[in-house]
Amino acid sequence: MGRSYNTIAFDAAKCDGCGDCMTACATVKTGSTDKSRSRIQIVGDESDGFELALCRQCGDPKCVTVCPAAALTKNFDSGVIEWNASKCVDCLLCTVGCAYAGIALDEGVGHVAKCDMCYASPDGAPACVPACPHDALTYITTSRIYNEVGDWEDLFAPGLAGCQGCNTELLMRHTLRRVGPETVLATPPGCVPGMGSVGFNGTTGTKVPVFHPLLTNTAAMLAGIKRQYKRVGREVNALAIAGDGGASDVGFQSLSGAAERNEQILFMVVDNEGYMNTGMQRSSCTPYGAWTSTTPIGKGSGGMPSQGKTQDAKNLPLIMVNHRCEYVATASTAYMQDLYDKLDKAIQASKRGFAYLHVYSPCTTGWRFPTDQNMEVARKAVETNFVMLWEYNPKDGLEFTRPVDDPLPVTEYLKAMGRFRHLSPDQISHIQGKVVENLAFVKQMAHRQSA
C-alpha cells in the first residue's frame, strides 16, 4: 500500500482572521513578522468568512506537472512538495497550476515560496498550528495508523454486507488486523455476524477461526477457549466483537462472570444502542427518549403519549470499571487515533486478564440519519459530552482521554438524527440534564480513583 501523510486542517467556523498563524509562519520561515511573507494565508473577511490559502501537499500535484524545470518534486517520505531554488527559473507557472493558492511569489526574495509543513523542524510539526488562539488549525496525525497498519493483512474477507454508511465494518477490520491472526474471534448474534463474518451455508467472511456464540454466552465460551490454549502453552488471543444488547442485557451474566474471574479476554462491545440487526429494538443501552421499534411514537392512552424510551441508558463501561478489569475504555470510530491507542492497551491488558473496550458506533439505519453522516454523528456525540472518551486501569484509575471542556449543547447531537425527532422540550432538557450529571459522575470517579 502507499503512504499517508499528516496534514493541517482548517475549521473556518473557528477562524476570526487574526493572522497569528501567518505571523508565526513568517517568523519561522523568513525571520520577519511580515504576514505577506507567510506560506499560510488567511483570506476573506468577517462577513463572507475566512478561507485558507495553503499548499495541500497534493498526491497528484499540478504544480509539479507544470514546472518546466523540475524544481518541484513530491517527497514520498515526508509527503511534502519540495521546491529546489537552484533549479527554479522563476516562470511562476506553478502559481497558475495550483487551485489552492498554495504556492505564490514571495516578493521579499523574488522567488516562489510554499509550505513545507516545517517537517525539518526539531519537532517536525508546523509552527502555524499552535499559534492559532482559536483552535481553527489542527495538525492531523492519523496517517500514522494508515502507515503502520495499512500493510497488515485485513483478516476479514472483502464484501461483508453491512448497511450503507455503517462504520462497524471499518471498526471490525481495523480491530482484527491489529489483534492479528493468532486469534479466535467470537461474534455473537447481531450486526457483526449479520454482515457475514461467520458466514452463510459454507462460506465465511473471516480468515481467523470465528464462531457464533449464543447471544448469552460469548465471554464464557471464550474463557474456555483461552484457558485450554493456556493449558497447552499456546499464545492465542480470545477476542469478542459483540453488540450492546447481547452484552448489556441477556449476555451480561456471562460477561460479568468472566470479568470477575479475570479471564484473559479482549471483549469489545460495538454500541449502536439497540438490537439493530433484528430490526432496531430497544436495549438497555438505548438512550432516553430514543425511538426504537419497541419504543415507538404514538398518542398513547389516558393522555400519556408514547414518546420513545422512558429510561436512561445503562452505562455498561462504568459497570465494567466496577469489576476492576485489567483495562476498560470507551472509544468512538470518529477518533481512530484514540481508539487505536486504547486497542493497543486492551490487547496488552488481555494477556494479563479481562480487557473491555466499549465503542460508540452510530447506526445510520436505526438512528435515522443520512448514510454519509456517520462520522459526523459519532463526533457530535463526543463534542456534546453525550458520550465520553476515557480509559481505566486499576493502577491509574479512570482518566479522560479526550476531555471536552466546552461542549456543544446536546441538541447539536440530537438534531442530527431522526430517532430524536419527536422529542419534547421537557425530554430534551432531561437529556441535557443527564449529560451534565453523567459528566459530573465520571469526573468524580476520575478524580477519586486517580487520587
Binding site: V184, G199, F200, N201, H212, G224, R227, R231
Partner: protein, 415 residues
C-alpha cells in the same frame, strides 16, 4: 446380582483394584479424575454439590490435573466447556434440575456441534412444586435434545460408567455429549463398597484423546464454526438436513459403541454391566416389569420374592435411555404377554410415565398386542420400596385378563 444373570460370563482377569467406601457423588468424581479431563466447569446445586466439591478437592490435592472453572451459573458452565472442547479439551461437568433447565440453551447446542462433553445429571425432580430431592424429571425433560443418556443402578456403576462415557462420547462414530444419570439422593448420597480401577489401566482403556478433529477453533486450522445455515434457498435446506441426519446417525451409532465399550470394560476390569437393556430373571417369564436407575435394586428383590412365590415374572431394566434401545428392547419384549412400566417422572402430554410412553412405541413394532400399564413413583425423593414393586407385579399380572387402566398408577399417592 446384576452381573450374575447376564448371558456372557465374566472371562476377564480382574486387574488390581483398590477397594474403597464412598457415596455416588464421590464415585462419579473419582471416575472423572481417572478419565483425565483437561477442563471441568462447576456450579453447585443440590443434590449434585458434593460431586463438584469432590472434583474441586481432587484438583486442589493434586490428584487430578485439570483446569477448574467456578463459573457464575450452569449456562456458563456448559459454555466454558464448549469453548474448551472446540480448543481440544476433554471436558466434564455435572448438574441437575433447575441447573439443567438454566443450561438448556447451550445444552441443545452441544449435541448439534457434536462436542463430546460428559455431564453427570444427579437427577432431581422438576420444580415447581418446590423440591430439592431426587426424581428423573430433569433428565427426562431433555431427552429429545440429542445427548446420549445412560442411567446407573449402583454406585460402582456410576464410577465405571462415568469413565466409559468419555470413551463413548469421543468415539469417532459418535461424537456426541453424554449424560451419566445417577439418582439424586439414592445414588448421590448412597454409600457403598466400590472397586477403584488402576489409573494406568484406565489410561490404556481410554486411548488417545482426539476431541476436536471434526470442528475446532484453532488458528492453526482456521474455520468458521457453526455459520448460519438452513432457510429455503441455495444450499441451506440440504446443508441443514445433512447436519441433522449426522446427529441422528451418531445417536444410532452410539448404541453399537456403548455395547463395545461396555464389553471392553468387562474384559479389562472384570465388571460387566448391561449396556442398553438388562434382563433379570426373564427366563420363562410370562410378564415383566420395567425399571430405570436405582429403583431397580428394590425391584429385583421383589422379583426374587415373587419368583419364590411361583409367579412367572421378570424384570427389564433400561440403562441407555437416549437413544432409546428399540431393537434390544424388542427382543426382551418379545418374551412377555404383559408389561408394567415404572417411571420416576411424569409425562404430562400422555398422562403416563415418559419411559412408558417410549415403550409403547416399541410395543407397536412387536406386531401383537401386549397389554401394558404405567406406574409413577419415587417423585421428589420418595422411596419406591419392595412393597411398591409387589403392587406393580400384581397389577401387571392381572393385565391380560382385565382392561388396562387409562390413568397411571401413582405408587406413592397414599404413602
Amino acid at each position: 446380582m446384576t452381573t450374575a444373570t447376564l448371558a456372557t460370563p465374566n472371562q476377564a482377569k480382574p486387574a488390581k483394584q483398590k477397594v474403597i467406601l464412598c457415596e455416588g457423588n464421590e464415585a462419579a468424581a473419582l471416575g472423572v479424575a481417572l478419565a483425565r479431563p483437561d477442563m471441568v466447569a462447576v456450579y453447585p446445586i443440590t443434590p449434585q454439590s458434593s460431586l463438584v466439591e469432590h472434583v474441586a478437592k481432587l484438583i486442589a490435592d493434586g490428584r487430578m490435573d485439570a483446569d477448574i472453572v467456578d463459573a457464575e451459573g450452569e449456562h456458563s458452565v456448559l459454555s466454558v466447556l464448549q469453548g474448551a472442547a472446540l480448543a481440544g479439551a476433554r471436558t466434564y461437568t455435572a448438574t441437575c434440575g433447575p441447573g439443567l433447565a438454566f443450561m438448556f440453551e447451550p445444552y441443545f447446542r452441544t449435541s448439534g456441534m457434536r462436542l463430546p462433553i460428559v455431564m453427570s445429571i444427579v437427577t432431581r425432580d422438576g420444580i415447581t412444586p418446590q423440591s430439592v430431592w431426587g426424581g428423573h424429571q430433569d433428565a427426562m425433560t431433555v431427552r429429545e435434545v440429542g445427548w446420549v443418556q445412560v442411567y446407573c443402578e449402583t454406585v460402582q456403576e456410576v464410577l465405571d460408567t462415568t469413565i466409559m462415557a468419555f470413551k463413548i462420547a469421543e468415539h469417532h462414530d459418535v461424537m456426541l455429549p453424554v449424560n451419566v444419570c445417577l439418582d439424586g439422593n439414592y445414588l448421590s448420597y448412597g454409600t457403598s463398597r466400590v472397586e477403584l480401577p488402576d489409573q494406568a489401566e484406565v489410561d490404556a482403556f481410554m486411548g488417545v484423546k482426539d476431541v476436536n478433529w471434526h470442528v475446532a477453533l484453532d488458528p492453526l486450522r482456521p474455520m468458521a464454526v457453526d455459520p448460519l445455515t438452513g432457510g429455503s434457498g441455495g444450499k441451506g435446506p440440504s446443508t441443514f438436513v445433512r447436519y441433522r441426519k449426522g446427529q441422528c446417525r451418531g445417536m444410532q451409532n452410539s448404541l453399537r459403541v456403548i455395547e463395545e465399550v461396555h464389553e471392553e470394560w468387562a474384559q479389562r476390569f472384570g465388571r460387566r454391566f448391561a449396556p442398553l437393556v438388562e434382563e433379570y430373571r426373564m427366563d420363562g417369564a410370562d410378564y415383566a416389569i420395567m425399571t430405570l436407575g436405582s429403583m431397580t435394586g428394590a425391584a429385583k428383590d421383589a422379583i426374587d420374592e415373587a419368583r419364590d412365590a411361583g409367579k412367572r415374572v421378570g424384570l427389564i431394566k433400561i440403562k441407555t435411555f437416549s437413544p432409546f434401545p428399540v431393537e434390544a428392547l424388542l427382543k426382551s419384549l418379545a418374551k412377555v404377554q404383559a408389561l408394567g412400566v415404572v417411571d420416576r417422572s411424569v409425562g404430562f402430554r400422555w398422562n403416563c410415565g415418559p419411559m412408558y410412553q417410549e415403550t409403547m412405541g416399541v410395543l407397536y413394532r412387536l406386531g401383537r398386542h401386549v397389554p401394558s400399564m404405567s406406574f409413577i413413583g419415587g417423585l421428589a425423593g420418595a422411596d419406591i420400596t419392595v412393597g411398591h414393586f409387589h403392587r406393580v407385579i400384581e397389577a401387571t399380572e392381572k393385565l391380560p385378563s382385565s382392561p388396562a387402566p387409562s390413568e397411571p398408577v401413582w405408587l406413592n399417592e397414599k404413602d
